[in-house]
């Protein structure tokens, strides 16, 4: 309502009234000229009045309210939304606007406050996330100089956060991997990001880690900077590596590697950065008698320069230590030699014998200050801080591992020792397994030999059973045939008196049948002798008696075949537990064999002598010897080079000798002929 009153007033404002008045005067001619002048004056007055009214009137009417509103706006511009004492309480438009502005200010202020709290909360969360990550980061400028490094990174690498600012990265790390430099360049050039996996870093403070490094670029205040995020994966990698190492160790055991290789693999696990990360490791094992602890293997550089060289070669991408093993061994030659020459008695009291006895690790912080360590061990180890861990395999210490950080002088933490202990127990089992496997292998070999013997005798037994069966089946009809042939021969002989051509023909035919069936019978009886189940009489007999007895039997045969006999029998031969007749068979068969191989005569020499716990018989002939390819086969059943014969003579000999627990071998003599050597056990 009040609006209209103001509008009405404004409608009848003085300049309009004045305009009406002027217009009226213009209609009066007399005053026309006068008026024109007056109009000009009036217009000027009007304009001036109006300007004055505008300038002063507004100020007069609205001044305070506008100022207050302006104050608020100024406050808003500065971020202040709350006005302490509201100045205006009027009910005009401006006052209302003013109050609305105040309310709005309060509202905005509360919104901003809540957001601020939210932001702070988020920032806290963000910070705690960032700091709880095992991530370290630094920001580099375009000269590879450090602009900023987070506190985690400084803590990890033992840097002072202020000192390293403005240093180049190769001033704070011992060597900077080619990969890392290339990575940074690449990021700078192509503005992408790069991930370098499993990179080895060694700080000037000698802290060494393996990290996945992510490099990316960012713009800060118009400047291009690189952020290098270092993600420490040493622990994760150590676990992976240990697992792979253990499998590598068991693999190398299966591959029948030398024990040296296994020990070296174990120590590589102790020393490699991805393994337990010790600088040096030595391994000692108990000797066979359990009296001494002998140095077996050592891995580690001989000097700091060597250490740096090895680390840098690993960092060059050689994470896996397969080829470097030999390299390392070469580089640590001095240490290895010292360790291999070291030996400590377990009966004497020493730090080693104590670790072995208690089966518990010892952590020495000050070698030279320790009074209970002998000078010999001190000079060998030669480092202030080290740890000795027993190799315990199933409740028994089989050796020790000595590990230290001689070169980077990093303190040995409890965690390191725990890891080493776990590793050592696994390694001990591996070594123990290897030793056992070796024993098993030997046993297997023995069993294999025994099995071969069993197979051989089984083979003989099977042949025996088969041939016994055949022999008996054949013998009966053979006997009948032969019997009748003999009868025919007999009958023909009687009729011969008649002197017919027919009868002599019958007789000749019968004679042939007879001789052939006799030959068959003879073969069969040989086979049956061979296959007869062995039931030996075991009595103490003199082998000389056996030989003399047999020779007497064969005297005529030898004479007939023009074979000379030489006997060299030792007088006081020990008695041998054997079956006299079977041994006679042996000599008989050997002599028979000699006679057969010397169809145009020769000499057989039989020698006896006692050697250690056995009686030895040698039968030597002057025949043509045995072809080398036949040597293994001469004792096989049914092996023969003769035109006639079954090939059982020597097989029977071998069977009888084996049944008596003896042995028989044959060899060609340089002067020609061959010599059979029988060795019979003599009961003690």
């Amino acid at each position: 309502m009040k609006n209209w009153i103001y509008r009405g007033l404004f409608f009848f404002s003085p300049d309009i009234l004045f305009a009406f008045f002027v217009a009226y005067l213009l209609f009066i001619p007399d005053v026309k000229a006068e008026i024109l002048g007056t109009v000009a004056v009036g217009l000027a007055v009007m304009i001036a009045t109006r300007a004055l009214f505008h300038k002063l009137g507004r100020r007069f009417f609205y001044g305070r309210r506008i100022d207050a509103i302006r104050n608020i706006l100024d406050g808003y511009k500065k971020g202040r939304f709350i006005v302490a004492n509201p100045e205006l309480s009027g009910s005009d438009d401006l006052s209302r606007i003013y109050r609305e502005l105040l309310t709005l200010g309060k509202h905005l202020s509360s919104i901003i406050n809540t957001q601020k709290i939210e932001i702070e909360k988020f920032q806290d969360l963000y910070n705690s996330i960032v700091f709880s990550l095992s991530t370290y980061y630094m920001i580099l400028n375009d000269e590879d100089k450090i602009v900023f490094a987070n506190s985690g990174l400084c803590e990890k690498f033992h840097f002072d956060q202020n000192e390293i600012v403005n240093k180049r990265i190769d001033e704070i790390f011992y060597f900077v991997n080619r990969r890392l430099i290339d990575g940074i360049r690449q990021v700078r050039r192509y503005e992408n990001s790069v991930v370098l996996e499993k990179t080895h870093l060694l700080s000037i403070k000698k802290v060494s880690i393996i990290a996945d490094i992510k490099i990316s670029t960012m713009m800060i205040q118009g400047k291009k900077l690189e952020i290098v995020i270092i993600d420490d994966v040493t622990n994760k990698l150590q676990k992976d590596y240990q697992i792979s190492l253990m499998s590598q160790i068991s693999e190398s055991i299966q591959k029948d590697d030398e024990i040296d290789q296994i020990l070296h693999t174990i120590l590589t696990g102790v020393t490699s950065g991805a393994g337990l990360g010790f600088n040096r490791a030595m391994l000692f094992l108990v000797d066979g008698k359990g009296e001494n602890l002998a140095g077996k293997m050592a891995v580690g550089p001989d000097s700091f320069d060597e250490a740096i060289y090895i680390w840098s070669s690993i960092a060059a991408g050689n994470m896996k230590d397969d080829g470097t093993g030999i390299e390392k061994r070469k580089s640590g030659a001095e240490l290895l030699e010292k360790v291999l020459n070291a030996q400590f008695s377990l009966e004497e009291d020493s730090i080693f014998s104590r670790v072995m006895k208690n089966m518990k690790y010892v952590h020495i912080m000050d070698l030279w200050g320790a009074e209970d360590i002998g000078i010999e061990i001190k000079t060998l180890i030669d480092v202030m801080e080290f740890v000795i861990v027993p190799l315990v395999a199933v409740n028994r210490a089989i050796g020790v591992i000595v590990a230290d950080n001689k070169f980077n002088k990093a303190p040995i933490g409890k965690g390191d020792i725990e890891l080493l202990s776990i590793f050592a127990s696994q390694a001990a089992l591996s070594i123990e397994n290897y030793v056992r496997l070796d024993t098993v292998r030997n046993e297997m070999r023995k069993i294999g030999e025994r099995q071969e013997a069993i197979v051989e005798s089984e083979k003989l037994a099977a042949i025996g059973r088969i041939s016994a069966h055949i022999a008996h089946e054949i013998r009966n009809p053979l006997v009948t045939m032969g019997g009748y042939a003999r009868r025919i021969q007999q009958l023909a002989k009687e009729r011969e008196k008649e002197k017919t051509k027919e009868s002599s023909g019958i007789r000749d035919a019968a004679k042939i049948i007879l001789s052939e069936s006799e030959r068959l019978e003879k073969i069969l009886s040989n086979v049956m002798d061979f296959t007869r189940p062995a039931r030996y009489l075991r009595e103490f007999n003199s082998l000389n008696d056996v030989i003399i007895d047999t020779v007497n039997l064969l005297k005529n045969l030898l004479l007939e075949k023009k074979v000379a006999l030489e006997l060299n029998l030792e007088n006081d031969m020990p008695l041998v537990k054997c079956d006299f007749n079977q041994m006679k068979q042996v000599i008989l068969n050997l002599l028979q064999n000699s006679v057969d191989v010397m169809p145009s005569g020769g000499t057989v020499a039989i020698t006896t002598k006692s050697v250690d716990q056995s009686a030895v018989i040698k039968v030597k002939d002057t025949g043509s010897g045995i072809d080398s390819e036949d040597q293994a086969a001469v004792f096989e059943p049914f092996f023969t080079t003769k035109v006639t014969g079954v090939g059982l003579g020597l097989a029977i000999v071998k069977k009888i000798i084996k049944d008596h627990g003896g042995d028989i071998t044959v060899r060609n003599m340089p002067e020609g002929g061959c010599e059979f050597t029988i060795t019979m056990p003599v009961p003690s």
């Binding site: 006997v479 032969g482 019997g483 009868r487 006799e518």
Partner: protein, 121 residues
């Protein structure tokens, strides 16, 4: 002249022995298995029995026992193709253990030997 029982399952062999021994002047009876032999020994008086071992129905070992239980003094020669029965103690009760051969001389000699010793006794 003696009365001899030949116990042998192979007919031809048995007949051969019979022929050969008849030529020697002996009276021969034949049995083709142990059972027949036992029956014949029960029914007749023999001076000698030649006994095979592997035979159907009743083998020589069993027959040996039964014959001996009937007549403890009857001479028996085991004549077999097998030498491994030597280890069976029953064969030890026989007067001789010979392995078969187409040459019957060994058998004939043994018969002569046994009959001679018996006639003296």
């Amino acid at each position: 002249m003696a009365k001899i029982l030949i116990v042998e399952d192979e007919q031809h062999q048995r007949e051969l022995y019979a022929l050969e021994l008849q030529d020697e002047g002996h009276a021969i009876d034949q049995a083709s298995n142990g059972k027949e032999a036992v029956d014949m020994v029960k029914a007749n008086k023999y001076d000698l029995v030649i006994m095979d071992i592997r035979m159907p129905e009743m083998d020589g070992i069993e027959a040996l026992g039964k014959i001996l239980s009937k007549d403890k003094k009857i001479p028996i020669i085991i004549y077999t193709a097998y030498s491994n029965y030597k280890s069976n103690f029953m064969t030890w009760t026989a007067d001789a253990y010979l392995t078969k051969s187409s040459n019957l001389d060994e058998l004939k000699n043994k018969i002569r030997e046994i009959l001679a010793s018996r006639s003296i006794a």
